[in-house]
Structures are given as C-alpha cells and as structure tokens.
C-alpha cells in the first residue's frame, strides 16, 4: 500500500527528514511514534503530496506520489492535526463539502455524509454548526471528513490532541473497527498507549530519523529486559548510582531528576533488597519504589535517553 525509500527533506539548510524507509501493507495498522518535532507531520505532508520530498521516493499503491498526485490523493484520506473544518457550517455541510472535493456527486455526498455521521456517532448533531460542538465532537467530524470518499489508506496525524478521555476512547474504538474492516491506517501520535492499542507495527522517529521499527513483539524484544525499577529518593548520591549500576542484572540506570532514578533490569530479578541495602549504606532515603513493565516509552528512553513527551 505505501512504500517509502530513503526519503529526505530539507528546509533551507535544516534537514528535517534524514533518509527514512519503511513499508505499510494493505489492511495494516501502522504507528508512527515520536516526540514533537520528530518529523512526523512533515513525513505525512510528503506522503499526501502537500510538500514535495527532497530525495528518495514515496509510492502509494505502487504509484509515485510526485508523478501521480491526483490518483494517490484519491487513495488517501487525511486527518490533519488541526481541526480543519468550517466552524459556521453544519457537520453535514462540512462532510458533504469534503466529499465533493474528492469528486462525490451531491446525492452521493449526502448519503455518505449520513453514513459517516453514524460511524463517528454524531447522527443527532448533523445539522448543528461545528462551532457549537465540543472539542471531542469536532475531532470526530475531522476524522469523518477524511472518510467521506472511502479511502484505502487513512493517515491520522495526532487526531486525539486536547480532547477528553471519553472522546479519545470513541475515536480509538472507531479507528480500530475501521481497520478491522480492512482499512489501512497510519496513526501518528506521541501518546504511546494509543499507538500500542491500535497498531500492529510501529516505527519510532526522532530528529528526522527512523530509530526503530517492527511489530510490538519485535520492539519488546529490543527492550532491555522489559522491567524498570523507578525510585524516588531524598537526594541522589553519585556513589549510590555507581553502585546500583554494578549490581548483577542491571542493564541501564537513567537519572530522571535530582530525586528520580530509573533502573532498567534484564529480567524480573530479586534485586529490590540489594537496592534498599545500598541506599541505606550510602545514606540515601527512599521515598517511593515502583516496578514497571517496560513499554514503547521505555524503549524510546532507552534509545534516545529522552522522554517521548519532551
């Protein structure tokens, strides 16, 4: 469905996409994870043909995006990060307008708009102006507009930013259901739990580079043991950190703040007692201690030394 080969993009002297390659198969749900400024939106804009790629090639259904722009645009449905709707127009009118922009006739656009309102669960509000909707409802119509022409590939750029948990769940369930019905989905977010919930394959981007990609299982295998011991202490002593690093079974130690320390373990080992002992020997007071299963956030931290939401 989508193939990116060594795609690059620069704005002036600043290279924002540094040779990215990946493939998305038909019917797949693919997650693009990365912190703000990682290059996710730029990559999406290039896939959608909004900005030309500097180097490399992007193919949608085997067709080069730059060369067959009209055809590839017809295949893709895009949910932009911002709510790109007309606030003074009704939900129905907005949906019909976007449908017509993809070539739907008036009659077909009307019928499809009713279907889409049903999909996003807003049938009752179809005649209301967008400006009277809550943030979550606007987001749902924003997604609906991308579904009007029944695209084969749905690209969603952080579609749940700034909404309540209820609307977020509704959106995630809707997207999951669409994917189960055969729609190919590319979902970008810096919320790793959303990507974990929706996507079978995930790529993590940072500073314009693809730092890792694979199935959730592949990525979990890359995690250092998969367990993190999170410590909150009074004051961290350098000698304590050094001694913890030397403990048997400790993969990595990351100092989060002056009082917080993440200890990455190779496996669930009984080292808690050793850590407590070391702390008391070094005069470090432990306020809190948590054992956590590693996740994509942990992997990103492992690979870049930074948090996804930084």
């Amino acid at each position: 469905m989508l193939t990116l080969t060594d795609v690059k993009k620069s704005f002036g002297a600043h290279e924002v996409i540094k040779g990215i390659s990946f493939q998305v198969e038909k019917g797949e749900s693919f997650g693009l994870l990365g912190p703000n400024g990682a290059g996710k939106s730029t990559l999406i804009s290039m896939i959608c043909g909004l900005i030309p790629n500097g180097a490399g090639e992007i193919r949608v259904n085997g067709k080069l995006v730059g060369k067959h722009l009209k055809e590839t645009k017809q295949i893709i449905g895009v949910v932009p990060q911002d709510i790109a709707l007309y606030p003074t127009m009704s939900a129905m009118d907005n949906l019909m307008f976007w449908g017509k922009m993809y070539g739907l006739s008036g009659k077909k656009a009307k019928a499809r708009a009713k279907e889409v309102l049903n999909i996003v669960g807003l049938t009752e509000r179809g005649k209301d102006r967008i400006e009277t909707f809550s943030g979550g409802m606007k987001r749902r119509i924003n997604i609906g507009a991308a579904l009007m022409h029944e695209p084969q590939l749905l690209i969603m750029d952080e579609p749940t930013v700034g909404i309540d948990p209820q609307s977020r769940n509704h959106i995630l369930e809707t997207v999951k259901s669409l994917n189960e019905q055969g729609l190919t989905v590319i979902y970008t977010s810096h919320y790793m739990e959303e990507v974990e919930f929706l996507c079978k394959r995930i790529a993590i981007l940072d500073e314009g580079k693809l730092i890792v990609s694979g199935t959730k299982k592949d990525l979990n295998n890359r995690l250092a043991g998969g367990i993190v011991l999170k410590l909150t202490v009074g004051t961290l002593h350098p000698s304590f950190i050094e001694q913890v690093k030397k403990l048997n079974g400790v993969e990595k130690v990351i100092v989060q703040t002056a009082e917080e320390l993440d200890v990455h373990l190779q496996s669930k080992m009984e080292i808690v007692a050793d850590v407590i002992l070391l702390a008391s020997q070094s005069g470090v007071v432990i306020h809190n201690m948590q054992l956590k299963e590693a996740n994509l956030e942990t992997l990103f931290l492992q690979l870049t030394g930074r948090s996804l939401r930084e």
Binding site: E71, K73, I83, A84, Y86, D93, M101
Partner: protein, 394 residues
C-alpha cells in the same frame, strides 16, 4: 465543478456571518438614507417630488389664481393646499403639514407687491425653486400685458383712420392670451448631467459602488482564514488543483457580491423608492463588470497580504481611499478637474458614473468604455494574483 462547490461554500459562509451581513448589506442601506437625506438640499435634482405648498390669498384676483393654478398644475409634483387665514397657514408650517408657505397680499400685483415665500426647515431649495417659478410666471404675464397694451394703443391709433378692425384684433388677442395663460409650463431649467439624479439616487449608487469594494477585503480575508484554519492545507490534500481552488475563491467573491448588490438594489428601490433608471439590464450589465473587477481586487488583497490582520488593514484603507477619490463619499460634481481625473483611476468611480448615467437614461454605447475599463481591471488583477497565489499555495 469543484470551483463552483468552493464558491458556493464561500458564499454560504459569508451569508452565515452576521457581522458581514450587517457590514455588507445593512450598512450601505443605512448610509444611503443618512447621506441621501443630509445632502438633499445640496444636490437638488428630484427634491420637488413630494412638495406640499400652503397658500393664503385673502382676496383672490385673476393674477393670484393664475399663479396658484400654474403651481398646482400637472407635471410639477406640487400639491397646493389653500389656507383660510394667514394664521392657519403659519400653523400648518409649524406642524410641518406643508413644506413651503406662500402668502399673496390683497389684490396681488407682481409689479407693485411681492409674494412672501416661507420655507420650513430643510426646504430652502424647494422654496427657491417656487420663488423662481413665480417670478418667471409674473415676468411672462407682465410681458404679455405690456405687449397687449402696446399693440392695442398702436391699433387704436390706426383705427382712427378706419383702416383697422379694432373688435377683431381685441378678440384675437384675448384668445391668444387665454391660450398662453392656460398653457402648463415647467419653469425648471434642465439640470447638468451629474446633478440630474436626486441625492438619494446618487448615494444609492455611491454606496453600492463602495460596499461592493468591501468584498475585496472580505475575499482577501477569507483566503487567509482558510490558511489559518488549515482548511486550505486540507483542500490541497484533496485531488483539487490550485487553479480550481483559486477559481473557486474568485467565483465565491463574485457570487457574494451579486447577492449583496441585488439585495441592496431591491431594498433601495422598494424601501427608499430609489429609481435605478429606465433600464435594469444596463444596471445589471455594468454591475457584472464592476463585480468582476472587485472579485479580481479581492484576489489582489489575498495575494499581497500575509495574514488576516494585514488584509483587514490594507483592505479597509484601500476601500476608504477609493471611496473618497471615486466619489462615493462626496459627489463627483464637487470635485475639481484634477480630482476628477484622479477619480478615473478608481474602478468604483467608473461604476458610479455609469449608474448615475443609467439613472438619467443613457445609451448602451456610452456603457462600453466603463465596462471595458472594469473588465481590464479584473483581468489584470486575476493574472497577477494567479501567478503569485499559485506559487504561494502550491
């Protein structure tokens, strides 16, 4: 087709915007009423349409009755109300039941006694016109009287020789004088072309020309609004070409301007009784070309500004300057020769002069030049903007 969908969407958005409706449709109607009424006295033409003349003549004589008959005759649009007393006439004036009062003294003779003309506030121009009519009538009557006296005296001298039939001459003169006296005359001279419309007509045309210009500002702003709200980016992600989007924006501005003009024209015609002239086709013809140029200017505002605020400032300033120089605020007839030449650079001035010409009756051939100029403005604007905007959004 997609351009039309974008155009209809833009027009719908405009029509749902209460502020825009207030600004584009209600405001010009209100300003037409205010300016048209305020400058009624200055502009003249058409101000005789609803004049009620109160007359008091204590002892009627032939001359007084003749002048009253002449003033109240068909074609002058003056309704004469006869007062029973001087007090009654003054009461009528105080209560503004009459526009102008006319007091004719006992045994009025224009040679020896003057008629008193009393205007109510704001009716000074009408009073002046009535005074001129009375003077003209009196002069004509006196001329006939003197001529008759002279002819009769000469004839009497000749009749002593038995060469002239005095009875026949007298009979012939009486018939001629009666005919002249009973002839209806309008003693208003033909006004100059630019002043031949009423103030209400002038300002209806002027406000139409000015407020259609505001479309340029609104059109420019609409483009930036789409950019800010990311709907322009979303449009670009659909299989819609840049040309279709730009054409859609142009037609949208064009469509809204038509709606605005037709509502305004209807409102001024039916509510303010503005006469747009004998040919509605000519009005629509010139409006088509004017709106074409205005829609082009809308694209200029969009192309040469970077955001809504800038479009707002540039648009408002541009409209005001054009309105001022193009005769939408002050009548073009008050402009100096140099200013009239400058006005020719303003598209609203071409539209305004065309409208006023149509109102007084003009030929189709007289409209070709303004239509051509307006078409040229539109084409040049579209050409420049399509290059600049096309590059910017592509």
């Amino acid at each position: 087709m997609k351009s039309l969908v974008i155009a209809v969407k833009d027009a719908k958005i405009h029509l749902k915007d209460r502020k825009a409706i207030l600004m584009m449709i209600l405001m010009p109607i209100i300003l037409t009423v205010i300016l048209g009424s305020a400058l009624k006295g200055v502009m003249g033409g058409g101000s005789m349409s609803e004049t009620v003349l109160g007359v008091y003549s204590p002892e009627s004589n032939e001359m007084a009755e003749s002048i009253i008959r002449a003033l109240g005759g068909d074609g002058l649009a003056i309704t004469v109300e006869r007062a029973e007393s001087e007090k009654q006439l003054l009461d009528w004036m105080e209560e503004r039941e009459v526009h102008v009062g006319l007091l004719l003294p006992d045994e009025w003779d224009p040679d020896t006694e003057r008629a008193i003309i009393l205007p109510t506030t704001g009716q000074e121009t009408t009073a002046t016109l009535i005074r001129q009519m009375i003077e003209t009538f009196a002069q004509m009557s006196q001329a006939i009287a003197h001529s008759t006296t002279t002819v009769m005296a000469e004839a009497a001298a000749l009749s002593s020789d038995g060469r002239v039939d005095m009875e026949a001459i007298q009979q012939e003169l009486t018939t001629s004088i009666e005919k002249v006296m009973n002839e209806q005359r309008t003693y208003v001279s033909e006004p100059a072309l630019e002043e031949s419309v009423s103030s209400m007509q002038y300002y209806a045309a002027a406000m139409a020309a000015m407020f259609l210009l505001f479309n340029a500002m609104a059109g420019g702003k609409s483009f930036h609004q789409e950019k800010r709200s990311e709907t322009l980016s979303r449009l670009m992600m659909t299989p819609t070409s840049v040309r279709s989007i730009l054409t859609g924006k142009f037609i949208g501005a064009f469509l809204f301007a038509w709606i605005q003009f037709l509502i305004f024209m209807g409102a001024t015609h039916f509510l303010l009784k503005v006469d747009w002239g004998p040919s509605i086709l000519q009005v629509l013809f010139i409006t088509f070309f004017y709106i074409f140029s205005v829609a082009g200017l809308a694209m200029v505002v969009a192309a040469f500004t970077t955001n809504e605020k800038m479009a707002d400032i540039v648009g408002t300033m541009g409209v005001q300057v054009m309105a001022l120089l193009g005769g939408s605020m002050l009548p073009l007839s008050l402009f100096s020769e140099v200013m009239r030449k400058i006005a020719m650079a303003m598209p609203n001035s071409w539209a305004l002069t065309s409208y006023t010409s149509i109102m007084t009756g003009t030929s189709w051939s007289a409209l070709w030049l303004p239509a051509g100029v307006l078409l040229g403005v539109g084409i040049v604007s579209i050409f420049i903007c399509s290059i600049r905007l096309g590059r910017r959004i592509a």
